[in-house]
């Protein structure tokens, strides 16, 4: 097992508890008619097949570009690679708030196969009272949920997803040894909107380092923008595999000292468009590159994207079928009447513009 302690079991139990507590609202209402307004499933974009893009602005001059390229060589021996990803979806609106679903997955590769632990789906009813529900409940010793209480329900959606993700990240970082741990997205900088979280993330990274793990975050798809002119190199022009050290070019908004990650553009395969890669900043630079080379020796890549992380992403995703199933189970358990919000597309293209053509 990846996780030597019992954390893997406590996460879902605690999340199930909050989930049920938040859903209790609905039962209390059972006198009046319950309605769940949902968007037509066909309208929602799916996230699984479609990559989403991280826009990424580079500020510094580009002219020393060639000198920033670090060519990579896969470096045996193989080490364990673990990845964490989570997803969230709106399930519907009630009179009081928003029902959302969350699911998270940890995937790791051992000598034989890819293995996973998948958590959820967890349903949350986010209402005005939700911050209370949430506050009573210490998710982690160091993160105080009250800090989020000013957010609107939609804000809560990404916030809760992120909390689940952090939980899983902590779990993995705490219990792994000598491994490469992949996070999804970018490592945040302290001082931004994730303020209450970043100290906790530092803590998690510390936990990881104490077990000799290397943590890196990989953005799904990266689009480079040059802010002060100068031609950008086409990803196709880069040798592969390679890293481009762009740490100094990344955002002046947050000084490097406050950032948790050290930023590269990673191109692992000739057909890869290149991804933003943040490596735990507290590692010596040489170890960073070495860790990436180990990753190349330890995990398959699919179009230059590590398979472990891709699997975590795919397993977590809440597909439209999942959403439909969750809507129906809500209707079944709480007696909701499902009401479809008038979908704009249908209003434009006629009442029977079925899913096929959407």
């Amino acid at each position: 097992m990846l996780l030597e302690n019992t954390a893997e079991a406590t996460v879902p139990t605690r999340w199930a508890e909050v989930s049920l507590r938040s859903l209790k609202d609905m039962e209390e209402n059972s006198g009046e008619s319950l309605e769940l307004t949902v968007a037509d499933t066909g309208e929602e974009e799916s996230s699984l097949l479609k990559n989403w893009t991280t826009s990424f602005h580079l500020h510094s001059p580009w002219n020393d570009f060639q000198s920033r390229i670090v060519k990579l060589h896969p470096r045996p021996p193989r080490v364990k690679v673990a990845a964490v990803d989570c997803s969230s979806r709106k399930i519907g609106r009630t009179k009081k708030g928003l029902v959302c679903a969350f699911r998270g997955t940890v995937v790791w590769r051992d000598d034989f196969a890819y293995r996973y632990l998948r958590y959820g789906p967890f349903l949350f009813h986010i209402t005005e009272r939700f911050p209370e529900t949430f506050r009573d409940f210490a998710f982690s010793s160091t993160v105080s949920a009250s800090a989020f209480s000013f957010l609107n329900p939609s804000g809560w959606l990404s916030r809760i997803r992120y909390l689940l993700e952090i939980e899983l990240q902590r779990m993995v970082c705490e219990s792994s040894r000598d491994s490469i741990i992949l996070w999804d997205g970018v490592m945040p900088a302290a001082g931004l909107d994730l303020d209450p979280v970043s100290p906790y993330l530092s803590h998690i990274l510390r936990l990881a380092r104490s077990g000799n793990n290397k943590v890196m975050a990989l953005a799904k798809e990266t689009r480079l923008f040059s802010e002060n002119g100068g031609p950008l190199p086409e990803a196709t022009e880069l040798p592969s595999p390679c890293l481009v050290d762009v740490d100094k070019c990344v955002g002046e908004v947050s000084p490097s000292s406050q950032r948790l990650g050290y930023t590269f553009i990673a191109k692992f395969a000739p057909d890869s468009p290149g991804f933003r890669l943040d490596v735990d900043r507290c590692l010596p630079k040489g170890e960073m590159v070495e860790a990436v080379e180990r990753l190349l020796a330890s995990d398959l890549t699919f179009q230059g994207y590590p398979e472990t992380l891709r699997a975590a992403h795919i397993l977590s995703a809440l597909t439209p079928v999942d959403v439909l199933g969750l809507q129906r189970s809500l209707a079944g358990r709480y007696g909701f009447k499902i009401v479809r919000s008038p979908p704009v597309r249908r209003m434009l293209f006629g009442p029977y513009g079925g899913w096929d053509d959407s």
């Binding site: 996460v11 879902p12 293995r115 632990l117 397993l315 079928v321 029977y352 959407s358």
Partner: protein, 482 residues
């Protein structure tokens, strides 16, 4: 169930796994606001191509190959999602509208998706709505919930019907139900029984006489069903010679002349006919031709000498007038030529009786008619004979043995299971239902289930489970080992 899509006369309905619907079933799409409904028949059931189903399959694909893991699903929601994979799309044809409890053929309106509710309509409810089986009911089946389904005898009256389906699917069984149903309403029925399976309609399965016993007359050609020349008459005799025994025109003229002479001298008999043919002044070829045919008639045992006791068709009609009754002409022991003789005689005589109004009208059930009915009679049956009051039901397991024209003119078709596309193509020429629907449903009909097409069920095609018969049936295909 939810309305999903409408295109021309078809709708697609989303059906969740816990709802059971079969091909051929009727759904009501009731617009609660507009207070009217569409009646839709399910013609196909498919897997729903849910948005994102593709993704789920992709995910499974990834998972199957090399991923092993565990799900922590404390709220047990995954099972609900898995269930959804089995969501189906029901493809339905719109048949009519229902408004204020009555049928309306205007289907040009669109029900609301939001205010519509969809439910299955049980066949007996629909029968009630269509007012089927109210006037002269014939019980033909049930709808699986114990409710009887009745059609009206009137739906066969003056009409042409076809019962078809593959071997052993229950055609003859249904035909017997209809025969007895018509008898119940006092109608005279004639059956051409090629397999000798209608002969026990008057007997219970245990062998006792039943209430039909006195009204069923079994006619065994050359046994209790024999005719004399004088009863036959010249017209019928000529038609036998010409059409069954292929006598050339010139010989037929001679025959006519000799017959008339014999009649005039009041000495018409088999014997005198043979004598005259032997002695009179005739071309040798003609004499040969005529004599050989008269011998054939005699040898058949069906045409007998004057004075022998015979059954007269008008006696049957007289006897059953008012009470109804069936004359079963058992052709199972006859050779093909005799079969044709008997049929030719019967139809010819019947037409004569109808023409002079000795008989008001008669229902005819013809099993595997291609075995004994000559070409020209098919057309006759649907035009001239129908006009005179002979209402035919053809029963066959070979749909291509019935011509396209006949299908087109059929008022009702009772369709049993067919697996074979070729067979179905033959029937799809019946313009009363779209071929696509018919094929879709016919191929999935269970044994003893038939689909009704046409007037018999008010132009609304139905799938009916045909009810058992409480008379002795001998329709089983003969086997060696059992």
């Amino acid at each position: 169930m939810r309305l999903f899509k409408k295109e021309h006369d078809t709708v697609q309905v989303l059906c969740f796994p816990e709802e059971t619907v079969e091909k051929g079933d009727y759904l009501v799409v009731e617009d609660l606001k507009a207070k009217r409904s569409l009646l839709v028949q399910v013609v196909d059931i498919q897997f729903a191509n849910l948005p994102g189903m593709m993704e789920d399959l992709v995910r499974e694909d990834v998972g199957d190959a090399y991923l092993f893991g565990e799900d922590y699903d404390p709220l047990q929601l995954n099972s609900q999602i898995t269930l959804l994979r089995d969501i189906r799309i029901l493809l339905g044809k719109i048949r009519c509208s229902i408004q204020g409890g009555s049928i309306d053929m205007n289907v040009s309106w669109l029900p609301s998706r939001v205010h519509s509710q969809i439910y299955r309509l049980k066949p007996h409810q629909l029968f009630e709505l269509l007012k089927l089986g109210f006037r002269r009911p014939i019980k033909i089946g049930d709808d699986g919930d114990g409710f009887e389904l009745r059609i009206d005898a009137d739906a066969l009256d003056g009409k042409l019907s076809i019962i078809t389906g593959r071997k052993g699917s229950g055609k003859s069984h249904l035909s017997k139900l209809l025969v007895l149903g018509l008898v119940d309403h006092g109608a005279p029925v004639l059956v051409f029984d090629v397999n000798g399976e209608y002969v026990n309609l008057g007997v219970n399965p245990n062998g006792e006489k039943n209430r039909y016993h006195d009204r069923i007359m079994v006619l065994n050609p050359a046994k209790n069903f024999k005719v004399t020349l004088s009863y036959m008459g010249l017209a019928t005799a000529s038609s036998l010679l010409a059409h069954v025994l292929s006598l050339p025109e010139t010989s037929l003229r001679e025959f006519s002349r000799i017959w008339k002479n014999l009649e005039r001298s009041d000495s018409l008999s088999l014997k005198s006919l043979k004598n005259t043919l032997r002695c009179c002044d005739l071309n040798e070829h003609v004499r040969e031709a005529l004599l050989s045919r008269v011998y054939t008639l005699e040898r058949s045992g069906f045409v007998v000498e004057e004075g022998e006791e015979t059954v007269r068709l008008e006696d049957f009609f007289a006897k059953t007038s008012g009470t109804g009754g069936a004359a079963v002409i058992n052709l199972s022991r006859s050779f093909p030529l005799e079969r044709k003789l008997v049929v030719e005689f019967t139809l010819s005589k019947l037409v004569e009786l109808l023409r002079v109004r000795r008989v008001k009208a008669c229902f005819l059930f013809a099993e595997e008619a291609h075995l004994y009915l000559r070409e020209t009679y098919w057309e006759d049956a649907v035009t001239r004979m129908r006009h005179l009051g002979l209402f035919t039901t053809f029963i066959t397991n070979r749909p291509d043995s019935i011509g396209e024209d006949i299908y087109r003119q059929a008022d009702s078709i009772f369709l049993f299971n067919f697996k074979n596309e070729h067979d179905l193509n033959a029937i799809s020429k019946a313009a009363r239902i779209d071929g696509e629907t018919m094929k879709a449903i016919a191929q999935s009909l269970k044994p003893h289930h038939c689909m009704t097409i046409g007037q018999v069920t008010g132009e609304i095609p139905f799938v009916i489970r045909v009810k058992p018969l409480d008379v002795k049936t001998m329709g089983e295909t003969r086997t060696f080992f059992s």
